[in-house]
Amino acid sequence: MRVVLSNSAGVPLYQQIKEQVGTAILSGELAEGSALPSVRALARDLRISIITTTRAYADLAAEGFIATVPGKGAYVLPLDSALVREQLLRQVEDGLQAALDAARRAGLQREDLIEILDGLIHAEQDAVR
């Protein structure tokens, strides 16, 4: 598991951990069932407090990304849980909203946007083949 903490990001450390682990799980980099280091091992390795890593894991567990086993550690839950799906939906909405904002500034119409989206989907399908 890769966690890179910034001291100057202005983002609390627990949130940086949470976001990075969450992103790794959503991208499939951390697969379902992968073991995560224990809260205490992660605190040691990152040289941060146990309270900080505990909070990051508690948030990840609350959002349905991981399950923690007291005294053992934590592992990645299957991605299809409703909570994770909600997270993904929110990301889709955020991304589309950003696209919409840019499109408005560029003066694009609904048809133009749909055309671009179709183009992207086709390009991705071609890349897979």
């Binding site: 205490r40 605190a43 040691r44 390795d45 040289r47 941060i48 407090s49 146990i50 309270i51």
Partner: protein, 321 residues
């Protein structure tokens, strides 16, 4: 069993000398975590630690250590490892002799562990105590504490005089120790960068009293640092300016978060770093009059000339504001 407390001090008072005493000192650490005890030189860190460890008496209050009232049974020493800022071993001893001398005092001394730790820490069994560097001496004391299977490690300024690489190594050793949820660590320091990262709980001690205690985040949230021009921050109503520093270029002080809203809008209010909290709370000590405590009572306790309001009037000012 992390719900238990590793230790607690409640209302502890201890007279140290005519001019200095611990007064109403209360703080506690849940089992399984790290607490940093922070304060300026002479603030009372070492005295508090000595009371906790039963190394000196105290007049009022009570102390519990690993579930026992202090002074506890002699066997309690088995469970506590102490790392002081200098070794308590005889300088001519070789590290193998350190083991031979200490082993009889500990029921659970683990010989293989001692040798393994020395190897891990890069210490030679044949070296003499007096030839060890500061960092090596600290590591030797840690090796001893871990070899008798202490559950609580108490460090008195372990990091002063250590280079950054060795400090980082020490943070890793503490992290290893804390992999066991039954283990806890208390360390005193005035180097805040160590605490910024690994400390779970923090206690700030100032002139023998507790200025603040809680989780690190609670303490960071409790204060704001304010900066303004050279003429700003003059006598704000209802706000205690802690450790105010005024120079021709500008003014800076620490305030309690709840009072920050009462400041006028043209000053910059920001979340402080631990270093800033330590600097401003510690700064009050340097403004004491030349004969602190000469009058005895706490009512004459020196306070910064810039605070101008005692706590009482500050409270009432806030209520009317």
């Amino acid at each position: 069993m992390s719900s238990e407390l590793a230790f607690s001090l409640r209302g502890v008072g201890a007279a140290v000398s005519g001019s200095f005493a611990l007064r109403d000192v209360s703080f506690e650490l849940p089992t399984g975590y790290v607490m940093g005890l922070m304060g300026a030189n002479g603030a009372g860190k070492t005295t508090a630690i000595r009371c906790l460890l039963g190394m000196r008496g105290f007049e009022t209050g009570e102390i519990e250590l690993l579930g026992h009232r202090v002074p506890g049974p002699v066997a309690l020493r088995q469970d506590v490892g102490v790392v002081l800022h200098r070794t308590y071993f005889v300088g001519d001893w070789r590290l193998a002799e350190v083991e031979r001398a200490l082993r009889p005092f500990y029921d659970r001394w683990d010989r293989a562990r001692y040798r393994q730790l020395l190897a891990d820490f890069g210490l030679d069994l044949r070296a003499r105590v007096k030839d060890l560097s500061r960092g090596m001496a600290v590591k030797l004391m840690i090796a001893v504490a871990l070899s008798h299977q202490a559950r609580l490690l108490v460090f008195d300024e372990p990091t002063s005089g250590l280079d950054p690489a060795t400090r980082d190594e020490l943070a890793g050793i503490i992290g290893d120790f804390l992999l066991d949820e039954g283990h806890s660590v208390l360390f005193s320091t005035h180097i805040t960068s160590d605490l910024d990262r690994i400390g779970d709980y923090l206690t700030l001690i100032h002139e023998g009293r507790i200025a603040a205690t809680g989780t690190k985040d609670e303490i960071l949230d409790a204060y704001r640092v304010v900066r303004g021009g050279p003429d700003d921050l003059s006598e704000p109503v209802g706000v205690q300016l802690i450790g105010l520093r005024r120079t021709p270029a500008g003014t800076q002080a620490l305030v309690r978060t709840g009072e920050a809203g009462l400041l006028s809008g043209d000053v910059l209010v920001e979340a402080p770093t631990l270093e800033e909290i330590a600097v401003h709370i510690g700064a009050r000590a340097n403004r004491r009059d030349p004969h602190p405590g000469a009058s005895g009572g706490t009512s004459r306790r020196p306070r910064p000339d810039v605070g101008r309001q005692d706590r009482g009037s500050s409270m009432s000012a806030r209520e009317t504001a």
